[in-house]
Symmetry: C2
Subunit: 205 residues, 2 copies
């Protein structure tokens, strides 16, 4: 698993001449880092003087962030695997008509998978962003910039994942699939920019 | 060193109830991830058909990105260490007037260091962003979204580091230092948003 690599090794692996892991895995990691920052702010809030009224909500925030972090750690691999599956399909033999059809089917289903994985990352990441916003509003004020970094890392994860959705979408032939996903992309893109602005507006620095 | 931890361990360490490593180290890592993506796009461009004219420039981009990645890996630790040094200073004894003065001097110089480290990260990260922009303009078109993710991760690193600069600045007493750094922060903030827009405008997805 990529998450078992050291930071240094992971950076080296990204930098290599292989396309995967690439931007899609980085997007998932970015959201996982944001989730961890949320947990930290929650841990710096729970049991602290002056935050009694927020304690229950912040505990839920911490639990949700931990769950999302675990999913996102999986997605670091899923994104890379989905790309490699498309490459495997492209290298299938295409000598007979049957082989060509099989190869094309495998490529198309691989591309759909390589679209749905970053789509799921984007959806996780927007949830992470909302949780980061809660830590800004209700968490330990000494850690408010950690919440802000969480919002921005999650926002970047959403937009990065959506770039990967869009580039894969451009090679898919199923127009119903394209229409459905394109609409989701558009909604998420608009939503994430508006929400980032709102959530960061609570910080006065 | 934090970069010797596995991704999973690093995420766990961020999430813990200790304020460091926190948003400042995440900012440095975010820029290091962007640098790695640049190196990947460069590696997918060098020696590839159709990119002969760009080869020399892209080789320089790759070298610069590697150098910045190494600096940023160090900064993951530097940011955390600078925070811990401030905490150590705060815990110094303050029984006599001399001890109080020494303690206050150590806190103030620690806070300046904790401001200058993210400032340096922000400056590295804006250089990373420009390199990512070059990979979008001149690198392998198949990896264009990796360059885009690089631009956004670097932008987020700049803004995240600057949040850390600003929160530390608010506790520093040297007004000449505050004025000088505040001006740099303002310039960087304006510059980074404008440049991100320009660099991403070359992508049509």
């Amino acid at each position: 698993m990529l998450s078992e690599l050291t930071i240094k090794e992971f950076l080296e692996k990204i930098a290599s001449e292989f396309p995967a892991p690439g931007g899609g895995s980085v997007a998932a990691l970015s959201a996982a880092l944001a989730a961890s920052l949320i947990e930290m702010v929650a841990n710096l809030t729970i049991g602290k003087k002056g935050y009694d009224d927020e304690e229950d909500e912040i505990k839920t925030v911490a639990q949700d962030a931990l769950r999302l972090r675990r999913d996102l750690i999986q997605s670091i691999d899923s994104d890379s695997n989905a790309y490699n599956d498309v490459m495997t399909a492209i290298n299938l033999p295409g000598n007979s008509e049957a082989e060509k059809r099989h190869r094309e089917d495998m490529i198309q289903s691989g591309l759909k998978q390589a679209t749905l994985v970053p789509m799921a990352v984007a959806e996780c990441a927007i949830n992470v962003m909302e949780l980061a916003g809660k830590t800004i509003a209700k968490g330990n004020k000494n850690a408010i910039t950690d919440g802000a970094v969480g919002v921005m890392m999650a926002k970047t994860a959403v937009l990065s994942a959506l770039y990967n959705v869009k580039i894969n979408l451009s090679t898919i032939k199923d127009s119903a699939f394209i229409d459905r996903i394109s609409k989701q992309v558009k909604d998420l893109e608009q939503n994430v920019l508006r929400r980032e602005k709102e959530l960061l507006s609570n910080i006065d620095l």
